[in-house]
Amino acid sequence: MTVARSNTLGACTPTGWRRPAAAFIFFGALTAALVVLNIGIGSIAFSPADILQTLIAPESGTTMSAIIWKIRIPRAIAAVLGGAFLAVSGLLLQVYFRNPIVGPFILGISSGATVMVSFVMLTTLTVGMTVISPFMTTLAAFIGAYGVMLIIVAVAYRVKSGITLLIIGLMMGYLCHAVTSILTALAEKEKIKGFVLWELGSFSGFKWSEISILLVCGGLILLLVYLLSKPLNAFLLGETYAASMGVNIRRFRILILLCACALAGMITSMAGPVAFVGLAVPHMARLVFQTSDNRILIPGVCLMGALVASLCDFIARMLLSPVELPLSAITAFFGAPIVIGLLMKRRVEL
């Protein structure tokens, strides 16, 4: 394992801060502009004055107010938070496994969510459960994602080797995929359409209650992750080094896994699987911020994740508006070439 080219860990001199600071300002402004764009532009055109009026003094009961306040704003925030959470989750797992091609879904989190959603959408298990039906898919995905996460964490307690854990995660993914495939093969055709739609991922339809959960729970986890940035830096230099610095390796490993899985699981349960953000964005952030120092990289990855997810969501919404394109297709379209390019040029290492 090597450290990125220009900076050594924990050696941010005043001159060394300039580049990250400039990058934070530039990409922060870009992200803010995209959020404004995501709120201002949609398949229904409103004048900027009307939008401003609705933002300042929303009139309840009007369609415009509902579109701005119940559809566009929650979606724009969901894209920001979703991108940030997935990217941080990917970063944590890349550090944990010391493997640059690991993403948040490598441990079977999305497969766990998918298998539970397939139970809800492709079988008749939930027929008659009308009281909780609007939240059934989200709830099922939540149970699936966190169910797999608990299994992985339980395994991590017993298994020391990261590679073994990685393989067990992959196997969990295959198992879940097998169950999903069987359910899909046996399902009625009209039910498959909705399931396929969920599998493609989207920030569409986020509710304020979900945004609140993301802000509170996700915010706390992000804060915790940031507080772990120093031990993460030590971990990056090897477990022996980290242990010599006073890091309780076993507890620390479990904590990283819990945070990574919780962040990815939260987004997957609400938006469905969103591909590539968690895998590609940490590499993009390393390239932009030219450092492996997690004190810079964690907020940097948050920002880049928010930017990429907002941009991809904008493209998915607007390219063929009012038709929506699958978000995961757009993120993969973006992410795959970037990762290939970076790895081919070997400009990014952990």
Binding site: M136, A185, G205, F206, S321, V323
Partner: protein
């Protein structure tokens, strides 16, 4: 090479099977289907499966080749290109019908003419085509001077997403032909397609009628049930103040009654010119589910 008339045929899709019925060859020629017996609403297919003449060949994505071989079809009607090499190996000719992507009304009407030569039933195909064409002419005549144009949406609501029937689909064409306003006319696609929720909500603001794809079995039991699927869309006009229709279970297997389906849709759009019409393929959803109403009355 296919020898005609084909005496034994296996068919993947509902539309293929109902077209065989329209041609009058189903009972004698159909030997295999990809839907189990309990899901069929066509009596001839149910009876054929009960007697063992028609076999369930397995799901369309996992055909039981042994069973297919045992049925000795002279032709397989399929949309699945992946099965072609296997059929080639077995020496069974196939026709890729792509009926699920037959979007426009013209293709739906003429599909019977595509299948007819396999069974030497061109006359039956012409008669079917004429019947549907006459139904369309009648619809146009009857609705020409009908009342105000109803605004119509056709799609499906999920927890966070919406799908609609694009404007180039046969339903969009029919709605236009029946002096009605299809609100997703500008949407283009090769099958039902996802659009933004805001567009669905905006169009729903002044729609009069909403056709959902969902049957009662998949949750469309009442307007309240449809509203519960996505609370954001609970206030669209068809749900609060208009009409919502869901297909009955046999609707998707009734391609041989296309003329009646088209007439029924026209009757739903303009009940004032079809006062005697009784619904056969769709069900108008009540405000609430029967259990909820019973609870209220108690």
């Amino acid at each position: 090479m296919v020898r005609t008339p084909v005496k034994r045929v296996a068919a993947y899709g509902y539309f293929d099977v109902s077209t065989l019925l329209a041609l009058g060859v189903l009972e004698e020629a159909l030997v295999g289907v990809t839907t189990p017996r309990e899901d069929w609403h066509i009596d001839a297919v149910k009876e054929g499966m009960a007697s063992g003449k028609i076999a369930f060949l397995g799901d369309s994505t996992a055909i039981d080749i042994e069973r297919l071989r045992r049925q000795e079809p002279e032709l397989v009607l399929t949309w699945d290109h992946a099965i072609i090499p296997m059929l080639d190996e077995l020496g069974i000719p196939c026709a890729v019908t792509s009926t699920p992507t037959a979007m426009c009304l013209n293709a739906r009407m003429r599909f019977v003419k595509f299948l007819a030569p396999f069974f030497n039933k061109q006359a039956a195909a012409d008669a079917f085509f004429e019947r549907v064409n006459n139904a369309l002419i009648k619809i146009r005549e009857k609705t020409r001077n009908a009342g105000p144009m109803p605004k119509v949406m056709w799609g499906d609501i999920y927890e966070k997403r919406v799908l609609v029937e694009p404007g180039n689909a046969w339903v969009g064409e029919l709605i236009g032909l029946a002096e009605s306003d299809y609100l997703f006319e500008d949407v283009f696609g090769t099958s039902c397609i996802e659009i933004s929720i805001e567009r669905f909500l905006y169009s729903g603001e002044d729609a009069d009628i909403f056709f959902t794809y969902r049957t009662a079995e998949s949750g469309a039991t009442s307007k309240a049930a449809v509203a519960r699927m996505n609370p954001l869309l609970a206030d669209i006009k068809p749900i609060t103040d208009g009409r919502v229709y869901a297909p009955l279970p046999h609707y998707s297997q009734s391609g041989h009654r296309l003329d009646e389906i088209l007439t029924e849709i026209a009757a739903i759009l303009h009940p004032e010119v079809y006062p005697e019409h009784e619904l056969k393929f769709f069900r108008q959803l009540p405000e609430t589910d029967p259990e909820a109403r019973q609870g209220e009355s108690r």
